[in-house]
């Protein structure tokens, strides 16, 4: 079956948009981490710097899955692996 190049590019754009939905997960996860960190600082203000650095480390690790989605979107849009 033959497909037009424009059709494949349009489908790639739709796929890229769908791939970026992966950003929902890290958003929720980072929000939960930040909320718990705020609660921890409220309970023990002396440990603020330790809590902040731990929170940032955990958030940066949790961000990875969202970045995979972003990478897939980038590949579909700019490298165009599906276009013959």
């Amino acid at each position: 079956m033959e497909f037009n190049t424009n059709f494949i590019l349009g489908c790639s754009a739709i796929g890229a948009g769908l791939a970026v939905i992966a950003g929902i997960g890290p958003g929720v996860g980072q929000g939960i981490a930040a909320g718990h960190a705020a609660a921890a600082v409220g309970r023990n203000p002396g440990a603020k710097s330790d809590v902040t650095s731990t929170m940032l480390l955990g958030q940066a690790v949790a961000e990875t899955t969202g970045l995979y989605g972003l990478l897939i979107a980038m590949l579909l849009l700019f490298v165009k692996p599906l276009v013959p």
Binding site: T5, N6, L9, A13, L56, L57, A60, V61, E63, T64, L67, Y68, L70, L71, M74, L77, F78, V83
Partner: protein, 238 residues
């Protein structure tokens, strides 16, 4: 169809460009902008190191401004490594400090108009492979072959393939995390400067502070922190 997806894609430029090609074993290999940017970052670091070396050789009891800065940097890196690695920190202060300074300068080189070298997967994958080799060298050194095999068959021997996949995933996820974070910053800045070039006067500075300084510093910290955690894990014998 070569104009790309975006409407005015001609203005948007965040790809790696070839500077000049050369022949190597019959293959055409390109020197790209990444090589040039890595070279510039390296020259800056080497210049700083020569200056620091000259100052420290003639170190005074009451430190001057530059000596103070050098001592501050070294002390900060030493404390960071010592705090995470504990008694294993002795042999790793040089390595972790070096990659910390290199990644940090690479990430914030976007401020000075360069394309950050860490936004090229070749650079970050090399860093990930270095971490991988260090982890496994230390694993064999401290846990011996018996310990490594025991760790591989952790709950039961049938688990071994999954443990191997977990080991191989470490450098890939480390390098992809750094790469994708810096690349997203580069793409965002290229979109702002390419599509909004008429009104991009002063406010992109705020975006630069977030994408280049904050994100770059956080990702540097995370890369070094995870490397240290993995190496400490490999050194620990039960």
């Amino acid at each position: 169809m070569e104009k790309g997806i975006l409407l005015s894609a001609a203005d948007i430029d965040f790809m790696v460009h070839g500077v000049f090609p050369y022949k190597l074993f019959g293959q055409t290999v390109w020197i790209t902008t990444t090589h040039v940017c890595v070279l510039i970052v390296m020259l800056v670091i080497i210049g700083f190191c020569i200056a620091a070396n000259r100052v420290i050789k003639r170190a005074t009891e009451v430190p001057g401004t530059f000596q103070n800065i050098v001592e501050l940097i070294v002390e900060m890196l030493d404390n960071m490594v010592g705090g995470v690695m504990g008694k294993y920190a002795v042999g790793f202060r040089n390595y972790i400090g070096t990659i910390f300074i290199f990644i940090l300068l690479s990430n914030i080189s976007g401020l000075f108009g360069l394309r950050p070298p860490t936004a090229d997967y070749g650079v970050t994958f090399a860093l990930g492979i270095m971490t991988f080799v260090t982890i496994h060298f230390n694993k064999f050194k401290h846990q011996k072959v018996k310990g490594v095999i025991q760790g591989l068959c952790d709950p039961w021997p049938i688990w071994a393939p999954i443990n191997v996949i977990g080991d191989v995933a470490v450098p890939i996820s480390l390098s992809l995390r750094l790469f994708a974070n810096i690349l997203s910053g580069v793409v965002m800045m290229a979109l702002v400067y390419g599509l909004l070039s008429k009104i991009a006067i002063i406010w992109p500075a705020a975006l630069h502070v977030y994408f280049d300084l904050f994100s770059g510093a956080i990702q540097t910290y995370v890369f070094c922190m995870l490397t240290m955690t993995y190496i400490t894990d490999a050194c620990t014998t039960e």
